[in-house]
């Protein structure tokens, strides 16, 4: 939950008025000026560690919303409930039993280890809520429009005008001198015409020209044709604006937490929605101030829109976030596939991830920095082969390689053989 704590001091001071408003809404009794930041911090820490998986401040989750709970319940009752709610229920407390029934008889963990001070801190936090939040200030976005800078085309026009002016002046001067009786010389254009006549008659230049032309054409054609089907940089619009930066970057979720098939299978696997729901059952909205800057046009997507993106998961998986239950109306997400290998090329993730220990980023690039995922590598055969030729096989502790590697190293006279020497360059290893 790093993005929750992602607020700079500057933004906090800048937006104290917003904080005031927020806190005011949560609680009428506490004045914003009175907030004890230390206590709030301690409470928040405890809340996040112990309560956040089932409770939220402002809405129902597995358990009830806790914002302003002190107004609704006695402090003593709360302490009893928190320390051991089962005991409280067993004692026949009507309120406790009512809550238990209301939340589908789900047992709340007992927290006998929390001191009175701890509980008070937590309750303090639930009362004052979060300090800060809100969108980042203008220093967050970069302005791309250069100020007070003439457009480039104007410079070119001016330069052309100057040249034309010089030519006119030169011509005028020449005409004047001719009028004065100087011998008539062929003009600039006339000289060019003569030169052109010469070129037209020169066979050597013809040959040179043809060769040169052919080379250029071949180069361009070759370059173009080789790019056909190479989709490096392919960044399609996905049905859900999923940011790898927020998940893998900011929150440091392991790649293979979601792409768990990568270590077992040829496919890395797109996580099924139940994997998303492991976290998003509780995270129905992004933290205040989270934003995604889209590559295209630099559009900034803020909290309101991002929350709608999370809501899309709920829609697909059939999760009613108000009732907190699955409806059974599921609708699979149709992601747009980014990394497309042709059918005739076989690639196996587990070979690279599990056996070779290649980092995902080696082929997929800095995914943790990508707001929107794109194809980082060309995925051409040359690109594969290059890596196979350069990479030494890491065989430590893998008994499979023990014998064959020793033999091969002896054969090639090297200490460590490359993948290509191991046979990783043979056609049939990838084409079948």
């Amino acid at each position: 939950m790093k993005s929750v704590n992602h607020h700079s001091k500057l933004s906090r001071t800048l937006l104290s008025s917003l904080t005031f408003l927020f806190v005011f809404l949560v609680s009428f009794s506490v004045n914003a000026q009175d907030v004890d930041a230390e206590r709030q911090k301690a409470g928040r820490k405890l809340f996040n560690a112990n309560c956040a998986s089932c409770h939220k401040l402002d809405k129902k989750s597995t358990g009830p919303a806790l914002g302003g709970v002190e107004q609704r319940r006695e402090n003593e009752w709360l302490k009893k409930w928190i320390r051991n709610n089962a005991e409280l229920r067993a004692s026949g407390d009507a309120d406790a039993i009512a809550i238990y029934e209301e939340y589908n008889q789900s047992n709340m963990t007992a927290f006998p280890q929390l001191t009175d001070q701890n509980i008070d801190d937590i309750l303090y936090y639930t009362t004052v809520g979060n300090i800060g939040g809100g969108p980042k200030g203008p220093e967050g976005t970069t302005t791309t429009q250069p100020i007070n800078q003439a457009p480039k085309w104007l410079i070119w026009i001016l330069a052309a005008a100057i040249i034309v002016a010089f030519l006119i002046i030169g011509n005028l001067l020449k005409t004047v001198s001719e009028l004065k009786g100087a011998p008539k010389t062929p003009g600039l254009l006339g000289q060019a015409a003569e030169l052109w006549e010469g070129i037209k008659k020169n066979t050597f230049l013809h040959v040179l020209f043809v060769i040169f032309g052919a080379l250029i054409t071949a180069y361009v054609l070759f370059g173009t044709l080789f790019k056909v089907g190479v989709d490096q940089g392919y960044q399609p619009v996905q049905p859900i604006l999923f940011s790898h930066k927020i998940h893998a970057g900011d929150n440091k979720i392991e790649c293979q937490y979601c792409h768990s098939a990568a270590k077992h299978s040829k496919h890395s696997g797109i996580p099924s929605l139940n994997v998303c729901m492991n976290c998003h059952k509780n995270i129905s909205e992004v933290a205040e101030g989270t934003q995604v800057v889209l590559e295209e046009g630099g559009r900034v997507v803020g909290k309101t829109e991002l929350d709608k993106e999370i809501a899309k998961i709920y829609e697909h998986v059939g999760w009613d976030k108000d009732k907190l239950e699955y409806t059974g109306n599921t609708k699979p997400i149709e992601w747009v596939r980014i990394h497309n290998l042709p059918d005739f090329a076989y690639f196996n993730h587990s070979q690279h991830v599990t056996v070779a220990g290649v980092k995902c980023q080696k082929c997929h690039g800095p995914v943790e920095e990508m707001e929107e995922l794109y194809q980082y590598s060309p995925l051409t055969m040359g690109w594969c082969i290059d890596c196979h030729k350069e990479t030494n096989v890491d065989l430590k502790g893998n008994e499979y390689y023990a014998k064959i590697h020793a033999d091969l190293a002896k054969k090639y006279g090297v200490e460590q053989v490359t993948i290509a020497q191991l046979g990783g360059k043979e056609c049939g290893k990838c084409h079948y």
């Binding site: 056909v228 056996v355 033999d407």
Partner: protein, 1053 residues
Amino acid sequence: MASNKKYWQSVEELNDSSVVETLRNTEFVQEIPTDEFLGDKETLEGSSTSRRDFLKYVGFSTAAASLAACEGPVRKSIPYVVQPNDIVVGVADWYATTIADGFDFANVLVKTREGRPIQVMPNKEAGGVTNARTQASVLSLYDSDLRVKEPRKGEAQITWADADKEIVAKLESLKNANALVYLMTGTLASPSTEKVVADFVAKYPNVKHVTYDAVSESGTADAFEAMYGMRALPNYDFSKAEVIASIGADFLGDWQGGYEKSYAEGRRADTGKMSYHVQIESNMSLSGANADKRIVAKPSIQVNALIKLFNAITGQNITTENTPIDAQINKLAQDLKKAGSKGVVVTGINDKNAQMVALAINKALNSEVIDTEAVNLTRQGSDAKVAELVSDIQSGKAKGLVTYNVNPAYSLTGFGEAIKKLDLSVAISTQDDATANATQFTLPAPHNLESWGDVMATAGKYSLVQPTIAPLFNSRQFQDVLLKWSGAEKNYYDTLKEFWSTNVLNGASWNQALHDGFFMAPVVETTESTEETSNEENVSGTVNVNAAANELAKVKSTQFELTLYTSTALGDGKQANNPWLQELPDPITRASWDNYLTMSMADAKELGFTNPVKDNGAIDGNYAKVTVNGVEVTVPVIIQPGQAKGSLGLALGYGRTQGLKKEMQVGVNAYPLYVDNKNVQYNVSVEKVGGTHKFACIQVQSTLAGRHDILREATLKEVNDKSLDPKHTWNQPFMVSYDHQETEATDKKVDLWDDHDRSLGHHFNLSIDLTSCTGCGACVVACHAENNVPVVGKDEVRVGRDMHWLRIDRYYSSTVEDKQYAEGVAMTMDEFKAQNPNIPNKDIERRYTEKVLELSKGDLFDALENPAENPEVTFQPMMCQHCNHAPCETVCPVAATSHGRQGQNQMAYNRCVGTRYCANNCPYRVRRFNWFNYADNKEFDFNMNNEYGKMVLNPDVVVRSRGVMEKCSMCIQMTQATILKAKKEGRAVKADEFSTACSQACSTGAMVFGDVNNEKDTVAKLKEDRRAFYVLDYIGTKPNVVYQVKVRNTNEA
């Protein structure tokens, strides 16, 4: 000996060698049929497309294609919403289940990918054996054309609830009226289902359950019941046999389920012991093809032979006529007597008397081979009961009929019409077949691979059936339907579990049984008292047997006798809409997409039937009108070497039309000739009628190119004689002269190429034992499934464009020896050899033929014709040999085919430009050119052209596009997967861990795959075996497929 054998592929080679010559010259010339459209002047002139327009179109389409290529298609990736626990995307799961469709029963393992079954393999732990049909059953699962998708009443769709309500109401009213209702099923062999049926019958006492086997073994069951007091078939363990006498029983084919596994176990040449198998038959069957001695006899003579054996062994004296094969039968009787309890007699005649005689012979021999306790329960039908059912339904005595996965409207003449008169008719059926279309209600039943269930094919061995995919259509299991109608609360799954825990498991774990796919019930020791009673029965049995034999002896020979058989591909015809099976060539005739009348060469000559060969390798045939008991059927004729004179053969299971794809509506329905469920019909008349039939027969398409020494054979005596050095006698490598020294052609010195270093890493070899290969074709279908081999259809097969990566070549062989001696020639070959010591061994025969016998090559074949009346048969599975010095690799202009370090000849389809040079240069004829896009092409409307059929494709192997060459890859995707598994687990590859689809599918153990650099792999030893040889070794290709010499037990001391 071996050198006197001549191998040939077809009768045409013998009759008219010029055709073969032409074929050889045109084998690779496949001209573009320009004449077809250019030659037709009218059409050409009538066309509105001028040359100018044509060029415009070409230009436009080129431009459009290049533009289209710039923009890649958008591909979607759709993950699960909730991923099932046991599925990792891209990793196959295997489930143990059982195939039981009433005809084929097998313990199998099913490979599933992302919840889709894609392959069926034998469950070897459970002793499972798969044949071509069980292998192909996974494709029938996805048969969206033939499967029933929704419950129907007449033509109209109906909900299950409504159907239940209406049918139960009707059943109740019939029950109240005490009107007879038949429940007609195939052999269920399912203990729990039988209980469900019994409960249903208890609820509706007016219901009578009748088991109907389309291809009946009722004669055996009747005989067994008479002698042993239990209605079942005896089981056989041919691995214990020393002498096997089979009279018309194709026990390596479909006879009583097939016994190829134990048969092959009893014929391991390396142990020095082999059973001696004598087959007396009229059609050339798989068993006959594998037999050590094949005695050709038409059915009436077979009956005679059976009685003679009975006389000789039991000492009875039933009078029979004398026949030409008497001497051979007497010899066989002596052999059997000598073998005693190690001898066995089986007969395929579906007749109670004949079967009783056979059982009595086995009893007299005290045969260990036959098992009368752990009996075979795979055919439970009774001809008498079926006959009663048919007459009750036709007479109107029965008012209702419920069928389950049987198709009597197709296999019983006139039954479809009779059904329509009934008050209630319901078909619970997987297939929307003729019966399902004749009944009032049609209820979809799930496919075997979508069902729960249990099977007891052999008494005492319980097998479980579990679903490997969620039902594709709105189906409900037969058992669930009956439970519902009986008003039971529980569903079938719970009933099954309860049944197992109370009756089967005896406290053992259900989950373990489900995991294993089978459960062996503890053997119950038979008490003495039961033995005594069985002895009493035996006494009474002996009396009956004499009567039976006397009855049997009344069979009189007629001019033509027809034997109806089931083909290796289609069996009883249940899977007739399965393109893999339709395209599977018959192991003997090598014809696919057809059934036909097989006829002996002599009869064909007499009646004027021919099989002319076209110069593109296609075979034509004439039609014959066959009349049995007043029923006429017109079928094409194939002349079959080894067919008994006066006998005819015809396969059942073809000629289905209802619900089948047009391409699959091939052949002729032979069931109308299957009068009284007798597989042998006497008093048959044949008459030639007009018309030419076009066969899709691949037998002459790949010529031998004059290399008639493609096989090696030896006798058991030779192999057992340790004093013989095989290299100089029965497994002689080809010798060449090198530096004036006789050197083996495979020697390194002789080689044109430098040798690769093959000692590093893995080096894969496949060993194929020609002795164990029965030609069953399971490997061919397994290869289709594993490697996404396309089906091309009848017309393409006809012109030699079949795509089989693995084919099983069938060679006939006969010996010219006799002829030479008989004609009193100037000298024998041995003498000739002694006089001309300079002539190399391989040439001796040719020179001898030319010089001494003064025969040309064509004449030599003529000399072979007589022996061809009963040729020996050898099967040789042939696929890419993965030559270490591959001729195909050197001729490829784009290096699309290259050699891997692990021994595989690799084919990079994306690199191939389709010159076909490689195919032309391949001496083994194993490369297949992909002429068309077979996927997504309406012209080839098979499984790769519809959404359901595509689900069977193996996602690890590419579907090839048109214009590329393809061939066996030695299942490189499987070897790579095995290696990856070992790497991931950080260990060396275990012994015999590598496998290919064909080696996995092989039930007899003829195909063994492995790494020869791993000493512990079986194949490493097989490669060095005395019997090992390479096909066409003298070409110097150094193949990685090694064959084991075919050994025949000639029964010499």
